[in-house]
């Protein structure tokens, strides 16, 4: 499969590229050059550049969007919201029907509302990001994707993450978020997302929480395991054991 990765030179990108490279042809883009050699072709590209994103998607079978800029208001909206619009326009233009988008957990579960109070938080809730810049810009991107899936034959899988860990670097007693995964384990879900029969997805717009099995039960990764076949590694358990 020919796969366009947007924002592939960031923190998660190299892990995803190494995971996918053995079985896919990769075209990786980012607004800055990668700090290490990545497999496949690399293009400098701003996700907010509509014409550039459309051009980069030519000949692709799938788009994976890893782009994120969370601190500056202009770039956060450019990348997380307009970037999704550009990605979906590119998918429509080239007839690409498989898109994987990414974001933080509070794209749907705003931290003011659920994380402090609740348990068993699932991804299939009405998005309630609040006004946090990162959460809201990603939520608006998700909503744009959802609207496009209502009008076009495109399936979008949204993989939401919270906290990434390098198992080898975890220190005894280290504090951790209620939703953790190792970098390598997180990359594995993208293979599943590219392989899955799109008709096996419940709808054309599906949200998944991607993280290791954790004992406290704050969030639920059950849907990710059940539908995508995701297998959490047991490589971050030292955090609570």
């Amino acid at each position: 499969m020919n796969v366009l990765i947007l924002g592939g030179a960031g923190m998660l990108g190299p892990y995803v590229a190494r995971e996918l490279a053995p079985n896919h042809n990769l075209r990786i883009t980012d607004i800055t050059p990668p700090e290490e050699d990545l497999p496949g072709e690399f293009l400098l590209l701003d996700a907010a550049d509509l014409d550039g994103v459309v051009a980069a998607a030519a000949g692709m079978d799938a788009i994976v969007n890893l782009s994120v800029l969370r601190r500056d208001r202009q770039t956060a909206w450019d990348v997380s919201t307009r970037g999704c619009y550009n990605m979906m326009q590119a998918a429509v233009t080239h007839g690409i029907n498989r898109v994987i988008n990414t974001g933080p957990h509070f794209t749907v579960a705003g931290r003011h509302i659920t994380e402090i109070l609740d348990f068993g938080i699932v991804p299939d809730i009405p998005p309630q990001p609040g006004t946090n810049l990162y959460a809201l810009t990603k939520a608006m991107g998700l909503e744009i994707c959802r609207v496009f899936t209502e009008h076009h034959d495109i399936s979008v899988q949204h993989y939401l993450f919270y906290n990434f860990k390098d198992p080898a670097a975890i220190q005894p007693g280290e504090r951790y978020a209620p939703y953790v995964i190792s970098w390598e384990n997180s990359a594995e879900v993208f293979t599943l997302g590219l392989d899955i029969d799109l008709d096996a997805l419940p709808s054309r717009n599906e949200v998944f929480y991607v993280f290791a099995d954790m004992p406290h039960g704050k969030f639920s990764n059950e849907k990710t395991k059940r539908i995508l076949g995701f297998k959490p590694r047991q490589d971050v358990e030292i955090l609570w054991k």
């Binding site: 619009y85 429509v92 609040g130 810049l133 909503e143 209502e150």
Partner: protein, 204 residues
């Protein structure tokens, strides 16, 4: 009441300013210069102190969410999302009491003709303006209301005269959204400072 109206270059904003000016202090703003007899402030609605200054001392904002002439879709989307966020964030910081977002009943046009579509129904935007941009502006405003930092009222405008729209705005200004929500909550259990009102005929 001091009222700020956005999208000053749009006919509806100009008409609203004319209607409201007799009983209120009106300030118009736009992302490009506009000639008007009303008080006017040029603002890109950016993330800087100027947007706070634009909203300082304002009691209510009427956010029309209209494009500039010849503006491309991507820029319209940017204005409807990022600029709305900047405006509402500044409004919350400056203690503005109420924001009225002028949206469109085109959002409900995809429901079959003859259906009695109400404000509680899910909007059905297309992937193009104006429904996509108005919908996204609504979504941004909803999060401010959800957090209680602003009273946000959405007027989804259908086929309606300027006078009808002005009357709807005046009604909205007279009844802050939070009070209306509290009143409604007695019947529906809702307590959010967020209200949607359909104005005029739904396009079908």
């Amino acid at each position: 009441m001091r009222i700020l109206i956005t999208s000053a270059s749009h006919d509806r904003s100009a008409a609203l300013a004319d209607h409201l000016a007799s009983h209120h202090e009106v300030r118009l703003t736009e992302r490009a210069h506009v000639n008007t007899e009303h008080e006017f402030a040029l603002s890109g609605l950016g993330h800087d102190r100027s947007t706070n200054l634009l909203t300082r001392g304002i009691d209510a904002i009427i956010h029309a969410v209209e494009p500039l002439p010849e503006e491309d879709v991507s820029s319209q989307l940017d204005a409807a999302t990022r600029c709305t966020y900047n405006l509402l964030m500044a409004a919350a910081e400056e203690g503005v009491q109420q924001v009225i977002i002028l949206s469109t009943l085109e959002l409900m046009a995809a429901y079959p003709p003859g259906y009695r579509v109400t404000e509680t129904w899910r909007p059905l935007p297309t992937t193009q303006p104006p429904t996509l941009t108005k919908h996204m502006a609504e979504q941004v405003g909803r999060e401010f209301a959800r957090e209680g930092s602003l009273d946000v009222r959405v007027l989804r405008l259908g086929e309606a005269s300027d006078a009808t729209v002005a009357d709807a705005v005046i009604d909205a200004l007279a009844q802050p959204a939070s009070l209306a929500a509290q009143h409604r909550s007695k019947e529906e259990g809702a307590r959010e400072p967020w209200l949607i009102t359909h104005v005029g005929e739904r396009p079908q």
